[in-house]
Symmetry: D2
Subunit: 262 residues, 4 copies
Amino acid sequence: MSDYTWSTSIAEVQDDDVIVRGYRLSDLVGEVTFIDAIFLVHTGDFPSPSKRAMLDAIFVSLIEHGISPSTIITRTLASCGTPSQAAIAGGLLSIADWHGGSGEQLSRVLADLVSAAQQSADFDEERLLARTREVVADYQADRRRFAGFGHPQHTEGDPRAVALLNLADKLGISGNHVRAARTLEAVIEESRGRRLPLNVTGALAALLQDLGFSWRAIRGLVIAARSAGLVAHVVEELDQGGRWRHAREDDVVYTGPRGRTL
Amino acid sequence: MSDYTWSTSIAEVQDDDVIVRGYRLSDLVGEVTFIDAIFLVHTGDFPSPSKRAMLDAIFVSLIEHGISPSTIITRTLASCGTPSQAAIAGGLLSIADWHGGSGEQLSRVLADLVSAAQQSADFDEERLLARTREVVADYQADRRRFAGFGHPQHTEGDPRAVALLNLADKLGISGNHVRAARTLEAVIEESRGRRLPLNVTGALAALLQDLGFSWRAIRGLVIAARSAGLVAHVVEELDQGGRWRHAREDDVVYTGPRGRTL
Amino acid sequence: MSDYTWSTSIAEVQDDDVIVRGYRLSDLVGEVTFIDAIFLVHTGDFPSPSKRAMLDAIFVSLIEHGISPSTIITRTLASCGTPSQAAIAGGLLSIADWHGGSGEQLSRVLADLVSAAQQSADFDEERLLARTREVVADYQADRRRFAGFGHPQHTEGDPRAVALLNLADKLGISGNHVRAARTLEAVIEESRGRRLPLNVTGALAALLQDLGFSWRAIRGLVIAARSAGLVAHVVEELDQGGRWRHAREDDVVYTGPRGRTL
Amino acid sequence: MSDYTWSTSIAEVQDDDVIVRGYRLSDLVGEVTFIDAIFLVHTGDFPSPSKRAMLDAIFVSLIEHGISPSTIITRTLASCGTPSQAAIAGGLLSIADWHGGSGEQLSRVLADLVSAAQQSADFDEERLLARTREVVADYQADRRRFAGFGHPQHTEGDPRAVALLNLADKLGISGNHVRAARTLEAVIEESRGRRLPLNVTGALAALLQDLGFSWRAIRGLVIAARSAGLVAHVVEELDQGGRWRHAREDDVVYTGPRGRTL
């Protein structure tokens, strides 16, 4: 099938309804929650009550982070008169490799580790450990560091990661990806000689996969959760009525030459 | 306060937590749903069970619409190797004046109508009707049309609008903005001589305001709901492995000159 | 022709070349300047030397404006690890109604004024004046203000506007759109009792149309010129190596409640 | 210097002018071309006539490519009523790893190769060859392929690459980065047993660095050149007046289930 055709198993628009993973959208409205619908769209099925509670918790944890890069960008854009879709889209572009979206790399590593451990019918802990040691050694050889571990402020552990992982244990959600993340945490400690605990980004990379989401969806789900918060910042910025957010004058330093002539 | 400062009542980042509208975010995780958190961030309070059900229904109705402009853009971007934040942001830019976001204009009109009818303590139906007639006359004089009414396919009424408005009546959510929208619908019919029923965009503009959201938030909330669906399209597109989505060759027609030389 | 087909007179991709407005792109490479190519793509023809010089001057005037909203956004995005296409796109979203792009509204007004004055074969100055007075009266009735006039700092006139308009006069470029802009400036002064001179945005709206560009292209051309400068800011930001640009802590004020419990 | 301050050597905004790399912007307007200004902003100096001609040629070669991913996105966005800054920004997001922007990876490889060859005072051809062989061997070990070489249609050589490299030779622009690119081309041929010639993306990665631009700027410069073409597509799309570009109905295939009930 060549690439001007669109093959999708997610949804089908019909004259009088939209089919989503086999259900009529109009049957779902009023019957299931938004979190249920996210599961349906992504995994093809509705969640158990525990899984629903876990994804609700994850999305709640991501909805707001005050004045941070994404809100700075969204509000600066709104203050320039760009419409809300552009202000929000601009802010979401910041959920990237070094900020918020850093779990994508780890998500893929965890997917690979779980896949290695599951080559036979059972989950093979020894194979997991062996493959994890290989991966850590490769990273060290290339002087790369793992995203998803450690936090500049929370050296004893990122409280959001701790809360989410505890909840996952309580709800019985923690599965092979959490196991792989814990193994990776242990091997990193072993190899560095000091503990570098999972941070919230790392916890999400494991938990969302144990909930059934693809590693490719992790960053996007962070974006979906955060977007609801950014909308409130657009409203507040426009209600405040300011124009053209710029930098504090004495925070700008020009280090180039002056006084050149043609 | 000048515009390099950031004044916000939404959230505050503290060393060990985020305060959202007065609550510690870590207290909310595991205790409230994502939809509750959206209410909190936007309105400062948690919803009643009816309001929660209504917003869940609205977000469910928006999560997916198959292969439409936003998904075409998001998947084309993903097929070019741009990361997920950019693919999703690009798709969201299409939720604009003529597509998905057209309720923004109506939202503001409804806010004005309700405000006109509420100048005294009570909601004044006659004042509402009088002001609505003025607005419709102004629009007709300028040959502008109202977004939020009518649908090319569903001449008897957009089924999503009908479903959402029925649910709102059942849940006791319908309030002054729905009343204003119904009045506007009636005055438009009166002035045009034929019925032009509220479509889903118009229903959202009324319902979301009756739920307590600002008219400025309407388009953004559509974006927040849709973003969760776009993530699934990024995953599916990348899993399919295609590159550089383009147009079908015989759908491209060059109408300019040929054979010019310098 | 329905809307999944693409009809264009701009360019045609052939197996071994691209036809641009009738010319083979490979014939143009090395023979014409980039500014010539912009004229060709937009107007279908190459410019006279005077027109080329004028567009070069306009693009030079727009290439850089130091640390302003667009650069703040682009550099903040780059500091979060988003790739350059997303950092640049994010910054360009700020060229909007209240910043940089405000000439779009004026561009359309000028197009309408010129069209009114040209209803007969000749350019009718009296008709221009009459129509301008109507437009100014309409704006005043609606309490709207004209973008493109006045500047908070440069009350005697925006030096960039003065320079560009003087150059246009010298090069013999000033035409009907500049005439319309001058008339509008005069009528605004007449109606307000004080002078509100054309600023750079207003000058561009007139000059670019006198060069043959559509009013719909004005904001986009500002974007095209500015994008070359934003690239340099991405490079500088990444070379500096900072991460996660945020706000100065004491510039952030939380004005909401604290201490609420579930 | 912490990261809420802005240190830049590119430009400084003063009350009555903008200083760009030491020059007053108002002195440049009318005196230098846009291509000159791009050199100034990026390299701190004006180009020789040969360098100016080369960058003009490069930008001309990039301005248009008909109905391709970037124009499909930009026009689809414009057809949804999003403003031009958002339509253009959305299209630019497609200049990414697999489309248009693929030279970024090669640009960095070439920068490393040149740096390896220049460790002593002279450019050391043998060191270049040795380092190139190492890099190619590393890529083969990781089964990665080099962007910038080969083209599905033009097996004898991408005509745009040939034209630009010939022009560079004629103008005396080709330098160490072109040399490194040629060496890489030869080593790839040696290792694969067949020729995989530089394509236009690869030629740009070499030529722009030989012109003095940073490897980090390559993708951004492609974006800057292309943006001028996208503006014309916004204008044409809006002039055509279509709404909501979507897919041809029979190009959409739903492969998921139907008929599920709650």
